[in-house]
Symmetry: C2
Subunit: 496 residues, 2 copies
């Protein structure tokens, strides 16, 4: 039993870490069990530890309540067993709102209650590129201000425009001599953690993709035992980062070596081993309606361990239907990307990308961006990061400002008709979006007895214009008769 050191201070939802020296002989990844029990009053939370190479064992913990916490390690190695200590959990620093969870059934909020509106982007293996390019990606994210979530992979990716070898791999071994699926490369994981921390500094959630089909190394076809071993190590290392989301897969239905039972098991492992219940989802490839003759099925997002639906689909009209089906937040994590790529999923216009965001959000869901412009050095945001070249990020940032000023957007009793995407809070606040439709005027049926102001939003030109007068009940709104217009309709506070 070790002596108690002076208790350090850890901010709420910050990362406490205990490092202990331990055995280096044999295979520490498989031979040594190491965890810690964190206690506050009668509450005990157990967190798995992990071997970080060079005889160093670590266990991490993200405290969610203020005050004193004590801990005690558990190991099959005496030297690592029953090590005790304490820390004090203090108020979070500004910008730390805790991890994101589900809020009000179909929305998200940080642990401190602040609503979180996901504005995602996709850069699958930005973390596997040259260091300089990774730094550029982080600067691009900071400058754009458009995004607060990024989809990214643990494993490297093999696909068109993505044929380079990464500098580091999650597993020990090498491409030439084969992988040691009983050991990890700590350098890889330390680098990944640094990037997750970089994202955290920018206020960006890491929607971490644990498996994907685009593989030439064998990582998509590991044994069930290796899959589970890898998942437990990943969870032990990363779950104390408050900005982690678990995305079980990109396009799970293209991973022919996995069955629905495998995905069920992965969900249950994560549910069991992640002490904080970070968000969990799984992302499809197959689209009903496009590949309608396919035998593929979506994973059932209704299963209890799925926290939200992470959907690939091009038609944002369906958000309402999915929301009613699953009664969970709907995140359309791929709806085709802005660009001019040869591939069909990678050449929509910026206008369409922005339209997807407005439609998806106002229908009650959330939407994720991607960018795929042909580039002389094959540096394409969707995979490599780098520079954002498109016209959609500034419009997404404009939408994000509007959304973050308002309430969570619920389904409305007020009927704006089928051709308009509209969300808000009945009687108080509405956002209504006309998309590529271009009415010259519109009759609205606002609630009687409440006076509203209306602002006309040009979502493409990023202007907002107060319309003259006030509005109530059945009323006419004159519109410019051009595409990509929206309305912000707000009740005048009776108290002022």
């Amino acid at each position: 039993m070790q002596e108690l050191e002076k208790a350090p201070e850890i901010e709420r939802w910050g990362k406490f870490e205990l490092s202990l020296p331990g055995p280096q002989d044999g295979n520490p990844f498989t031979d040594v069990s190491f965890a810690a029990r964190f206690r506050q009053g009668h509450r005990i939370v157990e967190a798995d530890g992990f071997y970080d190479g060079q005889g160093c064992y670590r266990v991490r913990f993200m405290p969610d309540t203020l005050g004193k916490w004590s801990y005690e390690t558990v190991s099959n190695v005496p030297k690592l067993n029953l090590v005790q200590g304490m820390f004090t959990c203090v108020e979070p620093s500004p910008g730390n709102h805790g991890p994101v969870g589900v809020d009000r059934e179909v929305h998200f909020a940080y642990a401190d209650g602040k609503p979180f509106f996901p504005f995602g982007t996709t850069s699958y293996v930005w973390n596997h590129q040259e260091e300089e390019l990774q730094e550029l990606t982080l600067r691009s994210l900071a400058e754009a201000g458009s995004f607060n979530k990024i989809r990214m992979c643990v494993f490297p990716k093999h696909y068109d425009y993505n044929l380079n070898e990464p500098a580091l791999y999650p597993f020990a071994g090498s491409l030439e001599e084969g992988w040691d699926f009983t050991a990890f490369d700590p350098a890889y994981w330390q680098h990944l953690e640094r990037r997750i921390e970089d994202l955290q500094q920018l206020g960006i959630e890491a929607d971490l993709i644990l498996f994907h089909p685009y593989d030439r190394w064998g990582f998509a076809e590991m044994s069930p035992e290796t899959d589970d071993f890898y998942l437990r190590y990943t969870i032990a290392r990363l779950s104390a980062y408050r900005n982690i989301w678990w995305s079980l897969a990109n396009e799970f239905d293209l991973m022919k070596a996995k069955t629905m039972r495998d995905w069920d098991r992965f969900f249950r492992i994560i549910q069991e081993r992640d002490p904080y219940g970070h968000l969990r989802s799984i992302h499809n490839w197959h689209h009903p309606g496009i590949h309608y003759r396919s035998n593929l099925h979506w994973y059932d997002h209704g299963k209890p361990w799925v926290t939200h639906a992470s959907i690939q689909h091009h038609d944002l009209h369906f958000v309402e239907e999915w929301q009613e089906t699953y009664r969970k937040p709907i995140v359309v994590d791929e709806c085709r990307y802005e660009g001019n790529l040869n591939h069909g999923w990678g050449n929509i216009t910026a206008e369409r990308m922005v339209e997807c965001f407005w439609q998806g959000m106002l229908n009650g869901g959330y939407v994720t961006h991607g960018e795929t412009f042909l580039h002389e050095d094959n540096i394409i945001w969707w995979s490599h990061g780098g520079t954002l070249h498109g016209e959609s990020p500034s419009r997404i940032q404009f939408l994000r400002q509007i959304i973050e000023e308002g309430p969570q957007l619920d389904r409305l009793k007020t009927d704006f008709h089928w051709d308009i995407a509209a969300g808000g809070v009945d009687g108080e606040y509405y956002l209504a979006y006309f998309g590529s439709s271009r009415p010259g005027f519109r009759m609205l049926s606002l609630p009687e007895g409440i006076t509203f102001t209306i602002e006309l939003i040009d979502t493409w030109n990023m202007t907002m214009t107060s319309l003259p007068g006030t509005y109530e009940g059945n009323c006419r709104v004159d519109l410019p008769g051009k595409p990509y217009q929206a309305l912000r309709i707000q009740a005048i506070n009776q108290q002022t």
Copy 2:
């Protein structure tokens, strides 16, 4: 028994008409039965006659084979019974290809075998407007050259922007004193026939809508007996016009007084009384996917008396699915209209309207245009006809030229991928359309061993550019990276 007159000459698919004087007392519409049996060799075709007012009884016949035909009338009035005569059916005049029927399961052709590619427009009650406006509509149709089918109603229409009274009504009686549902107003029908002939002169099929829900006169809620009486009269008068198509209803599912059994009966009446088997369809309102919570169902276009599916839907991706479901021609007779109307179905851009045509046609279906621009005198093409103001008709005419130069577009074994609408004849001819996608290049998988030329079509700017060189097998096509491009790919004839 009357003496035989000198046998007149009637062109094939022309209209023979016999007029006989008969009783004016009582109610000739209900009291007198009148028909004729037309005979060529052992073949006998019976056509119903009708009362045309002022003691005049007529029976019409559209001969479909050359040579001598004889006839004999059948009536419960002795004077109208057993009247005999002859005529000679001669070669059709240029431009007369006969009525349109189904060809090769999912396509259309005239009776003489010439393929018919429907390029429809919609002007529901152009025939109920002031005479001058009707003439303008006909001139607009002729000048545009875009359209060879028009959707139009027998009954007047009551709806926004359509509140005037027509000059004539199908039934006898009046708005003030009530309708006599046992008698028709011949003047109404004579006028309608003139308009159908005017359309025939322009090479335009009259897709005649027999019932619709937009009614303030009671025509949408007549008794079953009156419905059937009206149908039989309509068929007797109009089926000898070779450019008639029977559209049982516009938006049948909004006609609350009718049941599916009623629609079945109407189809059977038409099937039984129309001697020529003109095309028969029924048009929905409800969209699966948009009104997904609705309990409404489509009429089953698979029923044997339905010749083709007349669909309202905004998403032309589904054409392939409908075609495989029904194994009949798919005509998307409403996919929203070009314009700036307040209503959601009436304010899409010209770009979108044209995109619907290209997508729908290349997916193996056919598409119908409509136009709904706000107008100071409420003269809107979709209902009233008049002048075409939009930017889509010229692009539709450009597409029509391309389509009419080529073969009927079938589903392909050659895979152009899900994001492209493509049709043609495998190994010979392909049209492939990128829609609003904008690839910078594309890899094609054309058949090996056949050399192709490729033309790049800018469907919006209406240009066609031969791409340099020839193409075969897996090949790359450089593209301009902007929306609304298509390719025409044709095998080089080995014999030249």
